[in-house]
Protein backbone atom coordinates (compact mmCIF):
# COMPACT_ATOMS: atom_id res chain seq x y z
CA UNK A 1 0.00 0.00 0.00
CA UNK A 2 1.50 3.40 -0.91
CA UNK A 3 2.62 5.57 1.98
CA UNK A 4 0.45 8.44 0.86
CA UNK A 5 -2.72 6.37 1.08
CA UNK A 6 -5.34 7.96 3.32
CA UNK A 7 -8.07 5.72 4.61
CA UNK A 8 -11.44 6.84 3.36
CA UNK A 9 -13.54 8.09 6.28
CA UNK A 10 -16.35 5.61 6.92
CA UNK A 11 -18.58 7.76 9.08
CA UNK A 12 -19.50 11.39 9.59
CA UNK A 13 -17.50 11.43 12.84
CA UNK A 14 -14.28 10.16 11.31
CA UNK A 15 -14.72 12.48 8.30
CA UNK A 16 -15.00 15.44 10.71
CA UNK A 17 -11.93 14.17 12.55
CA UNK A 18 -9.95 13.93 9.30
CA UNK A 19 -11.05 17.39 8.26
CA UNK A 20 -10.00 18.84 11.60
CA UNK A 21 -6.62 17.14 11.31
CA UNK A 22 -6.13 18.45 7.78
CA UNK A 23 -7.12 21.94 8.93
CA UNK A 24 -4.69 21.96 11.81
CA UNK A 25 -1.95 20.67 9.49
CA UNK A 26 -2.60 23.74 7.34
CA UNK A 27 -3.36 21.73 4.22
CA UNK A 28 -6.84 23.12 3.85
CA UNK A 29 -8.19 20.02 2.17
CA UNK A 30 -8.58 16.34 2.79
CA UNK A 31 -6.46 13.79 1.00
CA UNK A 32 -4.62 14.28 -2.26
CA UNK A 33 -5.37 16.00 -5.53
CA UNK A 34 -6.79 13.65 -8.10
CA UNK A 35 -5.37 13.49 -11.61
CA UNK A 36 -8.27 12.75 -13.93
CA UNK A 37 -7.76 11.85 -17.54
CA UNK A 38 -10.67 13.18 -19.59
CA UNK A 39 -10.79 11.89 -23.13
CA UNK A 40 -9.55 11.33 -25.79
CA UNK A 41 -12.71 9.30 -26.16
CA UNK A 42 -15.30 11.08 -24.07
CA UNK A 43 -18.70 12.22 -25.37
CA UNK A 44 -18.26 15.81 -24.23
CA UNK A 45 -14.89 16.26 -25.90
CA UNK A 46 -16.66 16.13 -29.29
CA UNK A 47 -13.95 14.12 -30.92
CA UNK A 48 -10.54 13.17 -29.65
CA UNK A 49 -9.52 15.96 -27.32
CA UNK A 50 -7.77 14.75 -24.19
CA UNK A 51 -7.46 16.88 -21.09
CA UNK A 52 -5.46 15.99 -17.99
CA UNK A 53 -7.30 17.56 -15.09
CA UNK A 54 -5.91 17.98 -11.61
CA UNK A 55 -8.85 18.05 -9.24
CA UNK A 56 -9.18 19.18 -5.67
CA UNK A 57 -12.45 17.51 -4.84
CA UNK A 58 -14.65 18.67 -7.69
CA UNK A 59 -12.70 21.82 -8.47
CA UNK A 60 -10.26 21.87 -11.37
CA UNK A 61 -6.96 23.37 -10.27
CA UNK A 62 -4.89 22.57 -13.36
CA UNK A 63 -5.75 21.55 -16.89
CA UNK A 64 -3.39 20.26 -19.58
CA UNK A 65 -5.07 19.79 -22.95
CA UNK A 66 -3.48 17.24 -25.25
CA UNK A 67 -4.32 17.54 -28.94
CA UNK A 68 -3.04 15.74 -32.01
CA UNK A 69 -4.91 12.44 -31.89
CA UNK A 70 -6.39 13.20 -35.32
CA UNK A 71 -3.21 14.58 -36.88
CA UNK A 72 -2.99 13.56 -40.52
CA UNK A 73 -0.28 15.87 -41.74
CA UNK A 74 -2.49 17.85 -44.11
CA UNK A 75 0.16 20.53 -44.53
CA UNK A 76 2.81 18.00 -45.58
CA UNK A 77 0.33 16.40 -47.96
CA UNK A 78 -0.50 19.79 -49.49
CA UNK A 79 3.17 20.37 -50.35
CA UNK A 80 3.11 17.25 -52.48
CA UNK A 81 0.07 17.82 -54.65
CA UNK A 82 -1.34 20.42 -57.01
CA UNK A 83 -3.65 23.12 -55.72
CA UNK A 84 -6.85 21.54 -57.01
CA UNK A 85 -5.93 18.13 -55.65
CA UNK A 86 -5.97 19.51 -52.11
CA UNK A 87 -9.65 20.55 -52.23
CA UNK A 88 -10.98 17.21 -50.88
CA UNK A 89 -8.62 17.49 -47.91
CA UNK A 90 -10.28 20.76 -46.92
CA UNK A 91 -13.60 18.92 -46.55
CA UNK A 92 -12.04 17.10 -43.64
CA UNK A 93 -10.86 20.12 -41.68
CA UNK A 94 -14.04 21.40 -40.07
CA UNK A 95 -16.15 18.46 -41.12
CA UNK A 96 -19.33 20.12 -39.89
CA UNK A 97 -19.01 22.84 -42.53
CA UNK A 98 -17.10 21.36 -45.48
CA UNK A 99 -18.58 23.84 -47.97
CA UNK A 100 -17.22 26.79 -46.02
CA UNK A 101 -13.75 25.21 -45.95
CA UNK A 102 -13.85 24.59 -49.71
CA UNK A 103 -14.71 28.23 -50.31
CA UNK A 104 -12.04 29.53 -47.92
CA UNK A 105 -9.32 27.43 -49.54
CA UNK A 106 -10.37 28.36 -53.07
CA UNK A 107 -10.39 32.05 -52.12
CA UNK A 108 -6.90 31.77 -50.62
CA UNK A 109 -5.39 30.27 -53.76
CA UNK A 110 -7.34 32.71 -55.94
CA UNK A 111 -5.78 35.52 -53.94
CA UNK A 112 -2.37 34.06 -54.77
CA UNK A 113 -3.35 33.83 -58.44
CA UNK A 114 -4.94 37.28 -58.47
CA UNK A 115 -8.25 35.95 -59.75
CA UNK A 116 -11.76 37.13 -58.95
CA UNK A 117 -14.73 34.86 -59.46
CA UNK A 118 -17.65 36.40 -61.45
CA UNK A 119 -20.63 37.79 -59.47
CA UNK A 120 -22.84 34.73 -59.83
CA UNK A 121 -20.08 32.47 -58.59
CA UNK A 122 -19.52 34.75 -55.60
CA UNK A 123 -23.18 34.75 -54.62
CA UNK A 124 -23.28 30.96 -54.93
CA UNK A 125 -20.32 30.81 -52.56
CA UNK A 126 -22.09 33.08 -50.08
CA UNK A 127 -25.08 30.72 -50.16
CA UNK A 128 -22.71 27.79 -49.55
CA UNK A 129 -20.99 29.50 -46.63
CA UNK A 130 -24.20 30.50 -44.90
CA UNK A 131 -25.80 27.07 -45.31
CA UNK A 132 -22.65 25.59 -43.81
CA UNK A 133 -22.72 28.11 -40.96
CA UNK A 134 -26.31 27.26 -40.09
CA UNK A 135 -25.54 23.56 -40.17
CA UNK A 136 -22.42 23.89 -37.99
CA UNK A 137 -23.98 26.27 -35.47
CA UNK A 138 -27.01 24.01 -35.13
CA UNK A 139 -24.81 21.07 -34.22
CA UNK A 140 -22.69 23.20 -31.89
CA UNK A 141 -25.75 24.42 -30.02
CA UNK A 142 -27.38 21.02 -29.99
CA UNK A 143 -24.27 19.40 -28.53
CA UNK A 144 -23.93 22.13 -25.92
CA UNK A 145 -27.56 21.66 -24.96
CA UNK A 146 -27.15 17.90 -24.72
CA UNK A 147 -24.01 18.21 -22.59
CA UNK A 148 -25.85 20.49 -20.22
CA UNK A 149 -28.91 18.33 -19.86
CA UNK A 150 -31.30 19.21 -22.66
CA UNK A 151 -31.43 16.15 -24.88
CA UNK A 152 -34.43 17.22 -26.99
CA UNK A 153 -32.66 20.01 -28.84
CA UNK A 154 -30.01 17.67 -30.18
CA UNK A 155 -32.71 15.60 -31.89
CA UNK A 156 -34.61 18.63 -33.19
CA UNK A 157 -31.57 20.21 -34.83
CA UNK A 158 -30.83 17.02 -36.73
CA UNK A 159 -34.16 17.37 -38.50
CA UNK A 160 -33.04 20.76 -39.77
CA UNK A 161 -29.53 19.62 -40.62
CA UNK A 162 -31.05 16.83 -42.65
CA UNK A 163 -32.83 19.41 -44.80
CA UNK A 164 -29.57 21.30 -45.28
CA UNK A 165 -27.79 18.08 -46.22
CA UNK A 166 -30.50 17.44 -48.81
CA UNK A 167 -29.84 20.88 -50.30
CA UNK A 168 -26.08 20.24 -50.29
CA UNK A 169 -26.62 16.88 -51.95
CA UNK A 170 -28.69 18.57 -54.63
CA UNK A 171 -25.93 21.11 -55.16
CA UNK A 172 -22.76 19.02 -55.00
CA UNK A 173 -23.81 15.40 -55.33
CA UNK A 174 -22.37 14.59 -51.92
CA UNK A 175 -23.89 15.19 -48.52
CA UNK A 176 -20.78 15.36 -46.42
CA UNK A 177 -17.52 15.49 -48.35
CA UNK A 178 -18.62 18.11 -50.79
CA UNK A 179 -15.37 19.15 -52.59
CA UNK A 180 -17.51 21.72 -54.37
CA UNK A 181 -15.07 24.47 -55.28
CA UNK A 182 -12.12 24.45 -57.64
CA UNK A 183 -9.50 27.15 -57.83
CA UNK A 184 -11.29 29.81 -59.82
CA UNK A 185 -14.84 28.64 -59.45
CA UNK A 186 -17.23 25.82 -58.71
CA UNK A 187 -17.53 22.39 -60.20
CA UNK A 188 -21.16 23.00 -61.24
CA UNK A 189 -23.83 25.67 -61.31
CA UNK A 190 -26.92 25.65 -59.10
CA UNK A 191 -29.18 22.80 -60.26
CA UNK A 192 -32.75 23.57 -61.42
CA UNK A 193 -35.10 23.96 -58.47
CA UNK A 194 -32.33 24.66 -55.96
CA UNK A 195 -33.24 28.29 -55.38
CA UNK A 196 -36.91 27.44 -54.77
CA UNK A 197 -36.04 24.63 -52.37
CA UNK A 198 -33.54 26.78 -50.53
CA UNK A 199 -36.11 29.57 -50.17
CA UNK A 200 -38.61 27.07 -48.86
CA UNK A 201 -36.07 25.84 -46.31
CA UNK A 202 -35.18 29.36 -45.18
CA UNK A 203 -38.85 30.31 -44.79
CA UNK A 204 -39.69 27.39 -42.52
CA UNK A 205 -36.35 27.57 -40.70
CA UNK A 206 -37.21 30.95 -39.15
CA UNK A 207 -39.86 29.28 -37.04
CA UNK A 208 -37.40 26.58 -36.04
CA UNK A 209 -34.95 29.15 -34.68
CA UNK A 210 -37.73 30.53 -32.49
CA UNK A 211 -38.48 26.99 -31.36
CA UNK A 212 -34.81 26.54 -30.41
CA UNK A 213 -34.88 29.88 -28.65
CA UNK A 214 -37.95 28.88 -26.65
CA UNK A 215 -36.47 25.54 -25.70
CA UNK A 216 -33.15 26.84 -24.43
CA UNK A 217 -32.77 30.56 -23.80
CA UNK A 218 -35.03 30.69 -20.73
CA UNK A 219 -34.66 27.07 -19.73
CA UNK A 220 -33.78 27.18 -16.04
CA UNK A 221 -31.43 24.20 -16.08
CA UNK A 222 -29.67 25.35 -19.23
CA UNK A 223 -29.24 28.89 -17.91
CA UNK A 224 -27.94 27.65 -14.55
CA UNK A 225 -25.40 25.43 -16.23
CA UNK A 226 -24.13 28.16 -18.57
CA UNK A 227 -24.56 31.61 -17.05
CA UNK A 228 -21.43 32.92 -15.36
CA UNK A 229 -19.46 29.82 -16.37
CA UNK A 230 -16.26 29.99 -18.39
CA UNK A 231 -15.96 33.76 -18.49
CA UNK A 232 -13.37 34.90 -21.03
CA UNK A 233 -12.43 38.53 -20.60
CA UNK A 234 -12.18 40.81 -23.61
CA UNK A 235 -8.41 41.17 -23.14
CA UNK A 236 -7.80 37.43 -22.86
CA UNK A 237 -9.93 36.72 -25.91
CA UNK A 238 -7.81 39.08 -28.00
CA UNK A 239 -4.50 38.01 -26.46
CA UNK A 240 -5.14 34.33 -27.15
CA UNK A 241 -6.24 35.10 -30.69
CA UNK A 242 -9.72 33.63 -30.37
CA UNK A 243 -11.98 34.14 -33.36
CA UNK A 244 -15.56 33.49 -34.28
CA UNK A 245 -18.44 33.37 -31.77
CA UNK A 246 -15.93 32.60 -28.98
CA UNK A 247 -14.34 36.02 -29.52
CA UNK A 248 -17.58 37.89 -30.15
CA UNK A 249 -19.14 36.33 -27.06
CA UNK A 250 -16.58 38.38 -25.12
CA UNK A 251 -17.77 41.55 -26.79
CA UNK A 252 -15.01 42.03 -29.37
CA UNK A 253 -16.43 43.29 -32.64
CA UNK A 254 -14.42 41.25 -35.13
CA UNK A 255 -16.00 39.34 -37.96
CA UNK A 256 -13.96 38.88 -41.13
CA UNK A 257 -17.12 39.27 -43.20
CA UNK A 258 -17.38 42.88 -41.96
CA UNK A 259 -13.73 43.65 -41.19
CA UNK A 260 -12.18 42.59 -44.49
CA UNK A 261 -15.21 41.82 -46.68
CA UNK A 262 -14.67 39.05 -49.18
CA UNK A 263 -17.06 37.57 -51.74
CA UNK A 264 -20.00 40.01 -51.76
CA UNK A 265 -20.48 40.28 -48.02
CA UNK A 266 -20.17 44.07 -48.05
CA UNK A 267 -23.38 44.27 -50.09
CA UNK A 268 -25.61 42.41 -47.65
CA UNK A 269 -27.53 43.85 -44.78
CA UNK A 270 -26.68 41.89 -41.63
CA UNK A 271 -25.56 42.46 -38.06
CA UNK A 272 -22.79 41.00 -35.93
CA UNK A 273 -24.13 39.89 -32.54
CA UNK A 274 -21.85 40.58 -29.57
CA UNK A 275 -21.87 39.24 -26.04
CA UNK A 276 -21.33 41.36 -22.96
CA UNK A 277 -20.04 38.96 -20.28
CA UNK A 278 -18.10 36.37 -22.24
CA UNK A 279 -19.53 33.32 -20.50
CA UNK A 280 -20.88 30.11 -22.03
CA UNK A 281 -24.36 31.61 -22.20
CA UNK A 282 -23.13 34.61 -24.21
CA UNK A 283 -21.39 32.36 -26.69
CA UNK A 284 -24.61 30.38 -27.05
CA UNK A 285 -26.63 33.57 -27.59
CA UNK A 286 -24.15 34.75 -30.25
CA UNK A 287 -24.57 31.51 -32.17
CA UNK A 288 -28.36 31.70 -31.90
CA UNK A 289 -28.39 35.23 -33.26
CA UNK A 290 -25.93 34.34 -36.01
CA UNK A 291 -28.46 31.77 -37.23
CA UNK A 292 -30.96 34.60 -37.72
CA UNK A 293 -28.35 36.76 -39.45
CA UNK A 294 -27.37 33.88 -41.74
CA UNK A 295 -31.01 33.51 -42.67
CA UNK A 296 -31.09 37.23 -43.54
CA UNK A 297 -28.01 36.87 -45.75
CA UNK A 298 -29.43 33.76 -47.41
CA UNK A 299 -32.71 35.51 -48.22
CA UNK A 300 -30.90 38.44 -49.82
CA UNK A 301 -28.49 36.20 -51.70
CA UNK A 302 -31.22 33.92 -53.05
CA UNK A 303 -33.24 36.91 -54.22
CA UNK A 304 -30.43 38.77 -55.95
CA UNK A 305 -28.69 35.83 -57.62
CA UNK A 306 -27.33 37.33 -60.87
CA UNK A 307 -27.04 35.50 -64.17
CA UNK A 308 -23.78 34.89 -65.93
CA UNK A 309 -20.72 32.71 -65.62
CA UNK A 310 -19.75 31.12 -62.32
CA UNK A 311 -16.07 30.51 -63.01
CA UNK A 312 -13.12 32.68 -63.97
CA UNK A 313 -12.68 33.04 -67.70
CA UNK A 314 -8.97 32.20 -67.70
CA UNK A 315 -8.86 29.37 -70.26
CA UNK A 316 -5.47 28.20 -69.08
CA UNK A 317 -6.38 28.46 -65.41
CA UNK A 318 -9.76 26.87 -64.89
CA UNK A 319 -10.80 23.43 -66.06
CA UNK A 320 -12.80 23.75 -69.31
CA UNK A 321 -16.30 22.36 -69.60
CA UNK A 322 -16.38 18.62 -70.19
CA UNK A 323 -18.36 18.91 -73.46
CA UNK A 324 -15.65 21.10 -74.93
CA UNK A 325 -12.87 18.83 -73.70
CA UNK A 326 -14.41 15.99 -75.66
CA UNK A 327 -14.99 17.97 -78.86
CA UNK A 328 -12.40 20.77 -79.08
CA UNK A 329 -8.63 20.44 -79.46
CA UNK A 330 -7.59 23.54 -77.52
CA UNK A 331 -9.72 22.75 -74.47
CA UNK A 332 -8.40 19.22 -74.49
CA UNK A 333 -4.83 20.54 -74.30
CA UNK A 334 -5.72 22.94 -71.50
CA UNK A 335 -7.42 20.17 -69.58
CA UNK A 336 -4.39 17.92 -70.02
CA UNK A 337 -1.91 20.55 -68.86
CA UNK A 338 -4.09 21.59 -65.92
CA UNK A 339 -4.63 18.06 -64.70
CA UNK A 340 -1.02 16.94 -65.06
CA UNK A 341 0.88 20.07 -64.05
CA UNK A 342 -1.68 22.03 -62.11
CA UNK A 343 -2.28 25.76 -62.08
CA UNK A 344 0.96 27.67 -62.58
CA UNK A 345 1.05 29.99 -59.57
CA UNK A 346 3.31 33.05 -59.40
CA UNK A 347 6.13 33.37 -56.88
CA UNK A 348 4.81 35.00 -53.74
CA UNK A 349 3.09 34.54 -50.43
CA UNK A 350 -0.43 35.29 -49.27
CA UNK A 351 -2.49 34.92 -46.13
CA UNK A 352 -6.23 34.69 -46.50
CA UNK A 353 -8.66 34.33 -43.61
CA UNK A 354 -12.34 33.59 -44.02
CA UNK A 355 -15.05 33.75 -41.37
CA UNK A 356 -15.96 30.11 -40.88
CA UNK A 357 -18.49 28.84 -38.33
CA UNK A 358 -15.74 28.14 -35.79
CA UNK A 359 -13.76 31.31 -36.41
CA UNK A 360 -11.19 32.61 -38.84
CA UNK A 361 -9.93 29.79 -41.04
CA UNK A 362 -6.71 31.12 -42.55
CA UNK A 363 -4.43 29.76 -45.22
CA UNK A 364 -0.86 30.99 -45.50
CA UNK A 365 0.50 29.91 -48.86
CA UNK A 366 4.07 30.42 -49.98
CA UNK A 367 4.65 29.67 -53.63
CA UNK A 368 7.94 29.36 -55.48
CA UNK A 369 6.14 29.07 -58.77
CA UNK A 370 4.88 25.89 -60.38
CA UNK A 371 1.83 23.80 -59.72
CA UNK A 372 2.27 22.92 -56.04
CA UNK A 373 2.50 25.12 -52.95
CA UNK A 374 5.96 25.28 -51.40
CA UNK A 375 4.36 25.69 -47.98
CA UNK A 376 0.72 25.72 -47.02
CA UNK A 377 -0.07 26.54 -43.43
CA UNK A 378 -3.59 26.17 -42.13
CA UNK A 379 -4.60 28.50 -39.33
CA UNK A 380 -7.25 26.35 -37.72
CA UNK A 381 -9.66 28.34 -35.53
CA UNK A 382 -10.43 25.34 -33.31
CA UNK A 383 -6.73 24.90 -32.54
CA UNK A 384 -6.33 28.53 -31.49
CA UNK A 385 -9.62 28.61 -29.58
CA UNK A 386 -8.63 25.53 -27.57
CA UNK A 387 -5.33 27.06 -26.47
CA UNK A 388 -7.20 29.13 -23.89
CA UNK A 389 -8.31 26.01 -21.96
CA UNK A 390 -5.19 25.98 -19.76
CA UNK A 391 -6.14 29.40 -18.49
CA UNK A 392 -9.92 29.04 -18.61
CA UNK A 393 -10.61 25.74 -16.85
CA UNK A 394 -8.89 26.15 -13.44
CA UNK A 395 -11.32 27.23 -10.73
CA UNK A 396 -14.34 25.60 -12.35
CA UNK A 397 -16.24 22.54 -11.23
CA UNK A 398 -15.65 19.32 -13.12
CA UNK A 399 -19.19 19.48 -14.53
CA UNK A 400 -18.56 23.01 -15.85
CA UNK A 401 -15.72 21.69 -17.99
CA UNK A 402 -18.36 19.95 -20.09
CA UNK A 403 -20.32 23.17 -20.56
CA UNK A 404 -17.17 25.14 -21.42
CA UNK A 405 -16.05 22.60 -24.02
CA UNK A 406 -19.53 22.61 -25.53
CA UNK A 407 -19.66 26.39 -25.69
CA UNK A 408 -16.21 26.71 -27.30
CA UNK A 409 -17.60 24.56 -30.13
CA UNK A 410 -14.46 23.09 -31.65
CA UNK A 411 -13.87 20.36 -34.21
CA UNK A 412 -10.85 18.15 -33.72
CA UNK A 413 -10.49 17.37 -37.41
CA UNK A 414 -9.61 21.00 -37.91
CA UNK A 415 -7.62 21.40 -34.71
CA UNK A 416 -5.28 18.50 -35.45
CA UNK A 417 -5.15 18.79 -39.24
Amino acid sequence: MPETFVEFPDSMESAALHAAEADSAGKGHLGQNLILNMGPSHPSTHGVLRIMLELDGEIVIRALPDVGYLHRGDEKIAENMTYNQFVPYTDRLDYLAPLANNVAYALAVEKLMGWTVPPRGQVIRVICCELARISAHLLGMGALAMDTGAMTVFLYIFTEREKIYNLIELLTGARFTTSYTRIGGQIRDLPPGFVEQAKEFVEQFKGKIDELDTLLTRNKIFVDRNKGIGIISREDAIDFGLTGPDLRGSGVDYDVRKARPYLTYSEYDFDIPLGSVGDCYDRYLCRLEELRQSVRILEQALNRLPDGPINVGDGKGFLPHKDKVLTKMEELIHQFILVTEGIQAPVGEVYFGAENPKGELGFYIQSKGGGVPYRLKIRAPSFVNLSILTKLLPGHMMSDVVAILGSLDFVMGECDR
Partner: protein
Protein backbone atom coordinates in the same frame (compact mmCIF):
# COMPACT_ATOMS: atom_id res chain seq x y z
CA UNK B 1 -1.61 54.03 -40.31
CA UNK B 2 -1.24 51.92 -43.39
CA UNK B 3 1.12 48.97 -43.54
CA UNK B 4 4.06 50.86 -45.21
CA UNK B 5 3.93 53.43 -42.40
CA UNK B 6 3.95 50.63 -39.83
CA UNK B 7 7.08 49.24 -41.46
CA UNK B 8 8.66 52.72 -41.44
CA UNK B 9 7.91 53.02 -37.71
CA UNK B 10 9.55 49.63 -37.15
CA UNK B 11 12.61 50.75 -39.09
CA UNK B 12 12.87 53.94 -37.01
CA UNK B 13 12.52 51.97 -33.77
CA UNK B 14 15.08 49.31 -34.69
CA UNK B 15 17.52 50.97 -37.10
CA UNK B 16 19.49 48.57 -39.23
CA UNK B 17 17.57 45.54 -37.98
CA UNK B 18 14.50 45.78 -40.19
CA UNK B 19 14.55 45.02 -43.89
CA UNK B 20 12.59 46.57 -46.72
CA UNK B 21 8.85 45.97 -46.83
CA UNK B 22 7.54 43.92 -49.74
CA UNK B 23 4.05 44.06 -51.18
CA UNK B 24 2.24 41.22 -52.85
CA UNK B 25 -1.53 41.13 -53.45
CA UNK B 26 -2.14 44.12 -51.15
CA UNK B 27 -0.30 42.50 -48.26
CA UNK B 28 2.91 43.78 -46.73
CA UNK B 29 5.68 41.61 -45.37
CA UNK B 30 8.85 42.73 -43.67
CA UNK B 31 11.88 40.78 -42.58
CA UNK B 32 13.50 41.55 -39.23
CA UNK B 33 16.62 40.26 -37.48
CA UNK B 34 15.90 37.36 -35.24
CA UNK B 35 17.45 39.07 -32.16
CA UNK B 36 14.76 41.74 -32.07
CA UNK B 37 11.69 39.59 -32.74
CA UNK B 38 10.40 39.78 -29.16
CA UNK B 39 11.05 43.50 -28.91
CA UNK B 40 9.47 44.04 -32.32
CA UNK B 41 6.37 42.05 -31.33
CA UNK B 42 6.08 44.08 -28.11
CA UNK B 43 6.52 47.34 -30.04
CA UNK B 44 3.90 46.33 -32.61
CA UNK B 45 1.47 45.39 -29.85
CA UNK B 46 1.98 48.23 -27.37
CA UNK B 47 2.83 51.19 -29.58
CA UNK B 48 1.37 50.42 -32.99
CA UNK B 49 -1.80 48.67 -31.83
CA UNK B 50 -1.27 45.42 -33.75
CA UNK B 51 -2.63 43.51 -30.77
CA UNK B 52 -3.95 40.42 -32.50
CA UNK B 53 -1.60 37.55 -33.33
CA UNK B 54 -3.28 35.62 -36.12
CA UNK B 55 -0.74 32.93 -36.75
CA UNK B 56 2.85 31.77 -36.51
CA UNK B 57 4.14 29.46 -39.20
CA UNK B 58 7.49 28.39 -40.49
CA UNK B 59 8.99 27.60 -43.88
CA UNK B 60 11.89 25.28 -44.63
CA UNK B 61 14.00 26.65 -47.50
CA UNK B 62 16.18 23.56 -47.72
CA UNK B 63 19.39 24.30 -49.58
CA UNK B 64 19.32 28.02 -48.78
CA UNK B 65 21.17 29.68 -45.95
CA UNK B 66 19.68 30.56 -43.48
CA UNK B 67 17.51 27.53 -43.90
CA UNK B 68 14.36 28.33 -41.92
CA UNK B 69 11.94 31.20 -41.86
CA UNK B 70 9.47 31.93 -39.06
CA UNK B 71 6.44 33.90 -40.18
CA UNK B 72 4.23 35.95 -37.86
CA UNK B 73 0.89 37.40 -38.91
CA UNK B 74 -0.16 40.44 -36.88
CA UNK B 75 -3.40 42.35 -37.10
CA UNK B 76 -4.96 45.28 -35.27
CA UNK B 77 -8.27 44.96 -33.44
CA UNK B 78 -9.77 48.22 -32.25
CA UNK B 79 -7.15 50.77 -31.30
CA UNK B 80 -5.29 53.11 -33.65
CA UNK B 81 -4.60 50.62 -36.46
CA UNK B 82 -7.86 48.76 -36.62
CA UNK B 83 -7.91 46.00 -39.25
CA UNK B 84 -4.36 46.61 -40.45
CA UNK B 85 -2.41 43.49 -41.28
CA UNK B 86 1.36 43.03 -41.27
CA UNK B 87 3.48 39.96 -41.83
CA UNK B 88 6.78 39.87 -39.99
CA UNK B 89 9.35 37.26 -40.93
CA UNK B 90 12.68 36.26 -39.54
CA UNK B 91 15.31 33.90 -40.89
CA UNK B 92 16.82 31.18 -38.71
CA UNK B 93 19.90 29.18 -39.61
CA UNK B 94 20.10 25.41 -39.41
CA UNK B 95 23.05 25.36 -36.99
CA UNK B 96 21.30 27.51 -34.44
CA UNK B 97 17.63 26.88 -35.13
CA UNK B 98 16.21 28.96 -32.34
CA UNK B 99 14.35 32.21 -31.96
CA UNK B 100 13.07 34.17 -28.97
CA UNK B 101 9.62 33.17 -27.80
CA UNK B 102 6.95 35.87 -27.83
CA UNK B 103 4.67 34.12 -25.33
CA UNK B 104 5.45 36.86 -22.82
CA UNK B 105 3.95 39.35 -25.29
CA UNK B 106 1.10 37.31 -26.77
CA UNK B 107 -0.25 34.45 -24.65
CA UNK B 108 -1.78 32.98 -27.79
CA UNK B 109 1.70 32.35 -29.21
CA UNK B 110 2.06 29.38 -26.85
CA UNK B 111 0.48 26.70 -29.01
CA UNK B 112 1.63 28.23 -32.30
CA UNK B 113 5.27 28.06 -31.18
CA UNK B 114 4.84 24.53 -29.90
CA UNK B 115 3.48 23.57 -33.30
CA UNK B 116 6.41 25.16 -35.14
CA UNK B 117 8.81 23.34 -32.81
CA UNK B 118 6.98 20.06 -33.29
CA UNK B 119 6.73 20.27 -37.06
CA UNK B 120 10.05 21.90 -37.94
CA UNK B 121 12.31 21.60 -34.92
CA UNK B 122 12.87 25.31 -34.35
CA UNK B 123 13.20 25.99 -30.62
CA UNK B 124 11.83 29.07 -28.91
CA UNK B 125 13.98 30.58 -26.16
CA UNK B 126 11.97 31.46 -23.10
CA UNK B 127 8.89 29.43 -24.01
CA UNK B 128 7.33 28.26 -20.73
CA UNK B 129 6.41 24.75 -21.87
CA UNK B 130 8.02 23.79 -25.18
CA UNK B 131 6.71 20.29 -25.84
CA UNK B 132 5.47 18.53 -28.93
CA UNK B 133 1.82 19.24 -29.58
CA UNK B 134 0.54 17.31 -32.61
CA UNK B 135 3.02 14.42 -32.64
CA UNK B 136 3.54 12.42 -29.48
CA UNK B 137 6.19 12.96 -26.85
CA UNK B 138 9.29 11.00 -27.82
CA UNK B 139 8.69 11.09 -31.58
CA UNK B 140 12.17 11.44 -33.11
CA UNK B 141 11.54 13.52 -36.28
CA UNK B 142 10.14 16.89 -37.32
CA UNK B 143 7.85 15.94 -40.18
CA UNK B 144 7.42 19.24 -42.01
CA UNK B 145 11.13 19.51 -42.82
CA UNK B 146 11.67 19.15 -46.52
CA UNK B 147 14.04 16.20 -46.06
CA UNK B 148 11.39 14.18 -44.22
CA UNK B 149 9.72 11.82 -46.70
CA UNK B 150 6.00 12.15 -47.34
CA UNK B 151 5.28 8.52 -46.54
CA UNK B 152 6.96 8.86 -43.14
CA UNK B 153 9.73 7.03 -41.36
CA UNK B 154 9.29 4.09 -39.01
CA UNK B 155 9.43 4.95 -35.35
CA UNK B 156 8.37 3.44 -32.06
CA UNK B 157 4.74 3.97 -31.22
CA UNK B 158 3.98 5.49 -27.85
CA UNK B 159 3.24 2.98 -25.13
CA UNK B 160 1.94 -0.56 -25.39
CA UNK B 161 -1.35 -1.59 -26.91
CA UNK B 162 -3.19 -0.39 -29.99
CA UNK B 163 -0.47 -0.51 -32.61
CA UNK B 164 1.99 -3.00 -31.17
CA UNK B 165 0.27 -6.16 -32.38
CA UNK B 166 0.17 -7.67 -35.87
CA UNK B 167 -3.01 -6.61 -37.65
CA UNK B 168 -5.48 -9.44 -38.35
CA UNK B 169 -5.13 -9.25 -42.15
CA UNK B 170 -1.34 -9.04 -42.22
CA UNK B 171 0.11 -11.65 -44.57
CA UNK B 172 -3.32 -12.20 -46.10
CA UNK B 173 -4.19 -12.02 -49.80
CA UNK B 174 -5.05 -8.31 -49.99
CA UNK B 175 -2.24 -6.92 -47.89
CA UNK B 176 0.84 -5.54 -49.63
CA UNK B 177 4.12 -6.79 -48.17
CA UNK B 178 5.81 -4.14 -46.07
CA UNK B 179 8.18 -1.94 -48.08
CA UNK B 180 11.77 -1.57 -46.89
CA UNK B 181 11.78 1.39 -44.53
CA UNK B 182 13.09 4.60 -46.11
CA UNK B 183 15.95 6.41 -44.40
CA UNK B 184 16.98 10.01 -44.22
CA UNK B 185 19.55 10.40 -46.99
CA UNK B 186 17.58 8.33 -49.50
CA UNK B 187 16.46 9.85 -52.77
CA UNK B 188 14.30 12.94 -52.09
CA UNK B 189 10.61 12.48 -51.46
CA UNK B 190 9.61 13.98 -54.76
CA UNK B 191 11.50 11.30 -56.68
CA UNK B 192 10.02 8.37 -54.78
CA UNK B 193 6.55 9.82 -54.39
CA UNK B 194 4.54 9.32 -57.58
CA UNK B 195 2.09 12.12 -56.81
CA UNK B 196 4.79 14.76 -56.68
CA UNK B 197 5.37 16.29 -60.04
CA UNK B 198 8.49 17.86 -61.59
CA UNK B 199 6.54 21.10 -61.72
CA UNK B 200 7.38 21.30 -58.04
CA UNK B 201 11.02 21.80 -59.01
CA UNK B 202 11.34 24.68 -61.41
CA UNK B 203 15.11 24.37 -61.26
CA UNK B 204 14.91 21.02 -63.09
CA UNK B 205 13.63 20.89 -66.68
CA UNK B 206 10.20 19.29 -66.96
Amino acid sequence: MAAPDLIASLQRQFPGKVGQGREFRDEWSVEVDREIIRAAAAYLKEDLGLNFLLDISSVDHMGDEPRYEVVYEFAGLGGPNDQQHLRVKTRVSEDDASVDSIVSVFQGADWHEREVFDMMGITFNGHPDLRRILMWEGYPYHPLKKDFPLEGLPSDMPGEGGFSRVSPMEGGPFVAPPAPPPKIGDAPTTVREPRAHPAAHPEKPV
